[in-house]
């Protein structure tokens, strides 16, 4: 699996007086098994960019190649392709429509033209994977809690067995518990299915905790593409100028350093922070 984004640009209201650039000359590569974090302020073009990756938005400039095939080619079958790059939208629970949870998850695989038993098998697997109990299968999806609804919606995408999984702000609007559930689910999916995951977020703590590689967008441009550790350690002030920040743990480390305590400047996860503090106290 490889996904290459090559100099992609996108304008809203192209060729009109109200033209505005949403994505500006973005290039990056998604490798097998990678966990990528994509951060940026509201309106920085994150959502627009990820909608390009499964062909929901047609590329205006640049190319996107999936396994060596150019998806921007006019004769490329986008409809079949969309199932291979799973995109979970913001507030995905708003797309639920069936009478019961199980049928809703069946919608995706059924659209792939699979046999009934294969569809049901996939739906069952996906629901198990996101941790929905058997007794909830035939409930109305609208009777579930917020976190559960969202997990059902994610299962709806997982059931299509995508080769890449993109999640656009999967924790938005959830309480801390629902948030933790979703995040640990995403990590579990990454470990078990070994597919690359792109996590769009504006929580620095989440991406520091999970992502191996970090993309930072600002005003439609891709400004950094590096490991979270390098980005947070080297570009602290620039991030703040963009209206972003560094993870809370990293902020504490810097406060400690200002007070003359030799805390490591590159600790970004809670685990690293705890270890660093223990080290200092010892």
């Amino acid at each position: 699996m490889s996904l290459i984004v090559n100099h992609v640009s996108y304008y809203y209201n192209r060729n009109t007086a109200m033209q505005s650039k949403a994505v500006d000359d973005v290039s990056f590569v998604v490798q097998d098994g990678e966990f990528i974090g994509l951060i940026g302020q509201t309106g920085s073009g994150k959502s627009t960019l990820v909608q390009h990756l499964n062909g929901l938005i047609k590329t205006q400039e640049g190319q996107i190649c999936f396994n060596g095939e150019d998806i921007t080619d006019s004769d490329f079958d986008l409809r079949a392709f969309r199932s291979r790059v799973g995109l979970v939208f913001q507030y995905p629970e708003h797309q639920l429509f069936e009478e019961d949870v199980f049928s809703d998850v069946c919608f995706g695989p059924r659209n792939l033209g699979l046999t009934k038993s294969e569809v049901e098998l996939r739906a069952y697997e996906a629901l198990k994977q996101v941790g929905i109990a058997d007794e909830s299968f035939y409930q109305s999806p609208f009777d579930l809690s917020g976190g559960e609804k969202r997990r059902v919606a994610i299962a709806g995408v997982l059931a299509m067995k995508p080769e890449v999984l993109i999640l656009d702000e999967p924790t938005a609007g959830l309480d801390p518990r629902g948030r933790d559930e979703i995040l640990s689910l995403i990590r579990k999916l990454h470990d078990q299915n070994n597919i690359p995951i792109i996590l769009v977020s504006h929580s620095m703590d989440d991406v520091a905790e999970y992502a191996v590689s970090l993309l930072v967008m600002h005003d439609g441009k891709l400004v950094y593409d590096d490991s979270p550790r390098n980005v947070f350690a080297e570009h602290r002030t620039e991030l703040e100028e963009m209206g972003l920040s560094v993870p809370e743990v990293n902020k504490i480390m810097h406060l400690l350093r200002e007070k003359g305590i030799p805390a490591p400047a590159d600790a970004i996860t809670i685990k690293e922070g705890v270890e660093a503090c223990l080290e200092i106290l010892r």
Partner: protein, 272 residues
């Protein structure tokens, strides 16, 4: 695609027409629409065209933008023209197969076409230069005498303004849900009519749910702020007539008089 409809859209710019009191514009539109049916000859069109052209110029809305709105009704326009062209009895000009085109037919078809185009452009000038909120305010104020005979004017105006403000929100929502379902392999484009209708279910159910949810939220928010209908309610920016509005009414009166008098006078001169 849904966004291409300019009929009823607002165009943000700075002009005398934009600043005019919405009541004047409502009245003006009404007068203009009625005036289009007050004459039957060419001279009347000259007067109406002069008026319309000067209004377009005053509005400072690009002409191309205005004509975009006509695209939506082009089929209706063509049907009207064709029916008038072939179905008007009179002096035959050309005739083929079972169809005859008459001299009167050509005239009526042309008149009808211009009348319809003027109707649409005339009313779109109002919506292009007035924000929906302003428009409903104007309507509420203009119709307020009716509340004495128990017409719920305020409630009707409130319903209208809520409906108008929901249109862009629901369009956005439709776009989002459509994309989300397409990401799950939904197909909204192919298949016969029955398939297509069936394929709309995954779009319509979430859309209705979200519309109801939004309606519910809005109702709660209004209640939380003690909204209880129109009685005793004041406005932050009450509508007040300015000198320019008076001038607007005067111009309207002059136009109305002109469109009644001029064609008749010209007719008389030519008959003599």
């Amino acid at each position: 695609m849904l966004r291409d409809i300019t009929l009823g859209q607002y165009y943000q710019t700075e002009s005398v027409l934009h600043r005019l009191d919405p009541r004047v514009k409502l009245m003006g539109t009404l007068v203009f629409l009625i005036s289009l049916f007050l004459f039957q000859n060419f001279t009347g069109y000259i007067v109406a065209t002069l008026f319309l052209v000067s209004m377009i110029a005053l509005s400072r809305v690009p002409v191309s933008f205005m004509f975009k709105g006509l695209k939506a009704v082009i089929i209706l326009l063509m049907i009207t023209v064709l029916i008038n062209l072939f179905a008007t009895p009179g002096e035959t000009v050309v005739s083929f197969w079972k169809l005859t085109i008459t001299k009167e037919g050509i005239y009526t078809a042309l008149f009808m076409m211009f009348r319809l185009i003027y109707l649409i452009i005339g009313s779109s000038i109002m919506t292009l230069t007035t924000t929906p909120g302003n428009l409903t305010d104007g309507m509420e104020k203009a119709l307020s005498p009716l509340s004495h005979i128990r017409v719920p004017v305020h409630e009707i105006a409130m319903m209208m303004s809520i409906a108008l403000s929901f249109i862009p929100i629901l369009l956005d929502e439709t776009d989002k849900i459509m994309k989300a379902q397409m990401a799950r392999g939904a197909d909204f484009e192919s298949g016969n009519i029955f398939r297509r209708v069936k394929n709309m279910v995954p779009l319509l159910v979430p859309l209705f749910i979200s519309a109801f949810r939004r309606a519910n939220d809005l109702a709660l928010a209004m209640e939380a702020r003690c909204y209880r209908g129109g009685s005793g309610r004041t406005k932050m920016k009450p509508l007040k007539y300015h000198l320019r509005d008076l001038a607007g009414y005067v111009i309207l009166a002059v136009y109305l008089a002109a469109i009644i008098v001029v064609p008749r006078v010209v007719d008389k001169i030519f008959v003599q």
